[in-house]
Symmetry: C2
Subunit: 566 residues, 2 copies
């Protein structure tokens, strides 16, 4: 049994988290009383160990109605509310829009589905709530204070308040989710849905009276999915997006093409996917597929940032675009994009114009990682080009030339470029608004980036393809763990968990992402220590089961355990 827990929160002061099963409240009672209760609890636990049977059953017992990721401030009260999903309503009392209406429908459905687990939970967790003496909560007010924005952006406001308190008093009018922005409402609805615990009868959901004040720690909380090494269908991508929404991720970094395949179906260059995709009809994303993904993501407050990685990682592009790639003179192999060929910039500009109109986000990821210069070195045409422009043979100037021209295009298109760290490390001169994405170094590698005024993203510690990593090792990562001024820290806009596609396809991608990507989600959303609180594993045990029940294949987070499904 997870009892009430106290811990110190360095940012926000004292905070309390209790699970549903605890019926006492420690806040507001004297220290002595608390001490007495603690002794009682220890004694009770001791008795259990002697007479009952510990040691068997799940490795970690799940919490009940705890939140993942943890909110900035959460206070639970010593009274309960009951919700009957058959007649429960969200009452929209502020602004509204289709995004809000669709979200209310989704969460009503999730609540309806959750109640079905009451009976099976009761047989598994002997301490499921009975039909307690709870006030019925017939509705929750939803108070959106500003008109909806059309799409989520890098400065969306995701903060919200959630209050469900005394119902009998004048405070009744406080019971609501409120937020300045639709994106905050979405986060608040997710939190509300997580608090509800089905009762033994399977008819009602029980919740603690609660007050939550919440906002994200970082504004950029991304998950990268690679759809080039293996192709994922739109429904499979939507399943990932659903999982992201349940973890308050807000950026889907779509690593859509790479060396192995080019599934993006371009209108201006249809040959790219006809020749470069694994399958010209079955393994491609049409414009309407992409629109579906973007709409689905938008409804969940998730941005879609495409990555078109150049000049390396472009072999599949070369299958259709003659002269795009530099060829090694001696071996005939193909290398990165040939920066000396003027036609290539015409091609890239036409393609990027299309991409900018298809993907609606202001950001575009331009890649720039792992550029193997072998075929630049071993190419007479490039040599004479470099000679003509007096470039040094270390190729920094050649890459600078390439990225300058590429960034001119994205500038024209009013896009904000993101590049992998090598572009910065290599010394390429970059437009000051470029974001640098660190993927292979410790957080210290962000120091030179932010000290020169660039914004930075961090991913090194959250590579989901590293099988030896666990949610705990991901949790230990703090992306601000380097010496920096407050101004420099403010330039670290967030991080991304990366699901590279070499070893995952539709059979295993979801349980490889979840529950491990829940850890970066909490580190990016929540303030607090990198050392998991003892209760963290129990919260994740509950959250993993929640994800499974919502249809997201999620692997066991903590070893042996059980999640009754129907």
């Amino acid at each position: 049994m997870i009892g009430p827990k106290l811990w110190k929160e360095t940012w926000k002061g004292l905070r309390m988290e209790s699970t549903y099963s605890s019926c006492t409240i420690l806040v507001g009672i004297s220290h002595q009383a608390a001490k007495f209760l603690l002794i009682l609890l220890v004694f009770f636990t001791f008795l259990q160990g002697r007479s009952g049977f510990s040691g068997f059953g799940p490795e970690v017992k799940p919490t009940k109605g705890a939140l993942w990721p943890r909110p900035s401030y959460e206070r639970r009260f010593n009274f309960s509310f009951a919700i009957d999903p058959k007649d429960f309503e969200f009452q929209s009392v502020g602004q509204t829009c289709p995004i809000l209406e669709k979200a209310l429908n989704r969460y009503k459905l999730l609540i309806k589905n959750a109640v079905r687990y009451g009976k099976v939970d009761a047989a598994y967790n002997k301490d499921s709530p009975a039909e307690v003496d709870a006030t019925k909560l017939p509705a929750l007010r939803v108070d959106l204070r500003s008109p909806c924005e059309e799409i989520p952006s890098d400065n969306m406001d995701e903060s919200y308040n959630l209050t469900v308190s005394h119902f009998s008093s004048a405070l009744i009018f406080m019971n609501r989710i409120s937020a300045n922005s639709i994106w905050g409402i979405l986060r608040g609805l997710e939190s509300f849905s997580q608090i509800l615990v089905p009762d033994k009868t399977g008819r009602m959901l029980i919740m603690d009276g609660i007050f939550i004040e919440d906002e994200p720690r970082f504004k950029h909380r991304g998950l990268l999915l690679d759809t080039s090494r293996h192709f994922f269908s739109v429904p499979e991508i939507q399943q990932v997006l659903d999982g992201m929404a349940y973890n308050k991720y807000n950026v889907f970094h779509w690593h859509i093409v790479d060396d192995q395949s080019f599934p993006y179906q371009s209108v201006v260059y249809p040959q790219l996917s006809l020749k470069g995709a694994y399958h010209p009809e079955l393994a491609v994303y049409s414009l309407s597929d992409i629109e579906n993904v973007i709409d689905f993501a938008k409804d969940r407050g998730i941005r879609v940032i495409p990555e078109f990685d150049t000049p390396g990682h472009t072999l599949s592009w070369g299958a259709s675009v003659k002269g795009l790639l530099a060829q090694c003179n001696t071996t005939g192999e193909y290398g990165p994009v040939d920066p000396s060929e003027p036609n290539n910039y015409v091609f890239l500009q036409r393609l990027l114009i299309e991409i900018a109109s298809v993907f609606k986000d202001k950001y575009i990821h331009l890649g720039g990682d792992e550029v193997e210069i072998k075929c630049w070195e071993d190419n007479p045409k490039i040599a004479s080009f470099m000679n003509k422009y007096n470039m040094s043979r270390n190729f920094t100037e050649l890459e600078t030339y390439y990225f300058t021209r590429l960034l001119n295009i994205t500038n024209l298109l009013n896009l904000k470029p993101v590049v992998w760290q090598e572009v910065f490390d290599f010394g390429v001169e970059l437009d000051p608004k470029t974001i640098i994405h660190v993927w292979k170094s410790e957080p210290e590698a962000m120091k030179p980036i932010v000290s020169r005024g660039y914004e930075a993203l961090f991913s090194s510690c959250w590579y989901l393809d590293h099988l030896s990593e666990t949610w705990r090792s991901y949790y230990h990562c703090d992306i601000l763990d380097f010496d920096a001024t407050p101004e420099e820290r403010a330039l670290v806009i967030g991080g991304e968990a990366c699901m590279w596609g070499e070893w995952v396809d539709e059979t295993n991608v979801s349980p490889r992402i979840w529950p491990r990507a829940c850890a970066p989600a909490e580190r990016l959303w929540s303030y607090g220590s990198r050392f998991p609180h003892p209760d963290t594993a129990a919260r994740l045990e509950e959250h993993a089961c929640r994800l499974k029940r919502r249809g997201i294949p999620t692997a066991p987070p903590n070893g042996p355990g059980y999640c009754p499904l129907l």
Copy 2:
């Protein structure tokens, strides 16, 4: 393109494997002609590298119509047959029985399903067979030469011959699968189904003329599934069994109960699962569930060997059986079964009588691993018991006493016991017909076992829960890799891949088993080197896609790739 390959087979002499796409045949032509063809091939490959686009696309291109596991002897001819699944028939020309009839229906369905992939394969693999000049094969004879056995056993005969040769000549009557036993027919049907390659039209399946003579290298080819750390439903177990059949595994080692939970629903001791299962109704195996599993396995030539691991790993048993477990005097913790308590043998006998009647196999796995003697040491009752019988304090005699009494029971029930290696290593005196299962040592650890005349099973190198292991590392393991006489080698009856359940549930178990467990399957079925042939990866690439198309979630075997599904 995977061209014709020649290699030397140490056991069986020269053998040839060609994939469907090769239209030349090297067997029977002169050395000089072969040399010329080889030069031509190298030149062609070189041309491809210069003009075409290598480097993108899948990491390993799949074979077409190759077998997994590789048969003992396989010869392909330079002519093809075409099958139209709409009117193709198996003609049973020998004995028959329900197992055979059900198998023929299953494989007819698999063939029907395979043909659908012709069109999508053609777009992915440009070298899919066209509507070639192939003789139509309207039927295949199935010649079972002896009456069916009722259940598969440790001395079942799994050998078979498969011939599909000249149709126009008198040899027409040779076109058949033939075997002495129903189990051989099942293996032959699986091989036949793997040879068929859908053509571009999606209407016909094309196959090489072929002669196969096949038999397993080891008689015990097992896969262990742990249903205690996480519960798996009967359909989930059946999916594993299907995957096993497609890889010619023949033993399902059902590690059904353990410390964490007791899902076996006993009739004589219903409290065991009522108190010890994760869920008393949803996470249990009723007698009829078990019957379903055994029947399903039997139809596929797979034995079901249950493991009821004692005296350790029994915490979940202790939840309902008072006095079963030895309690530590100082801590109150529970340890292994208390061997000093006479009632425990009454309990075990009654339970084992039931188990023997429920599971029909002659073998029973009695566990015996990881016995932590702490609570035997720290227990006054056990101390006085050992004193009374003049036992030494190193507990070998106490464990010998326990296993002697346990083996007396299994002897009475005419069961053949299997135990984990510790029981042998610990020096417990064992009945000579006991099989010792090595799981934590190199193959050399079998030397003392077989030299004392015990049969041995090996699993150490095939732990599927070890995430850093790949199919290649599993392939490198040879269970006969120790110094032994031929008589001793003959006592190594086989091995098992082990899927322990701590970190797998229904969301990830299948892609964690497959394709990696395909490697032990081939090492146990096929003669040949532990070093994968260059073609092995390509065969596995095809086989993994085959498994996916048959509904077995199978992870990518070789990195980036594509398997068109419908």
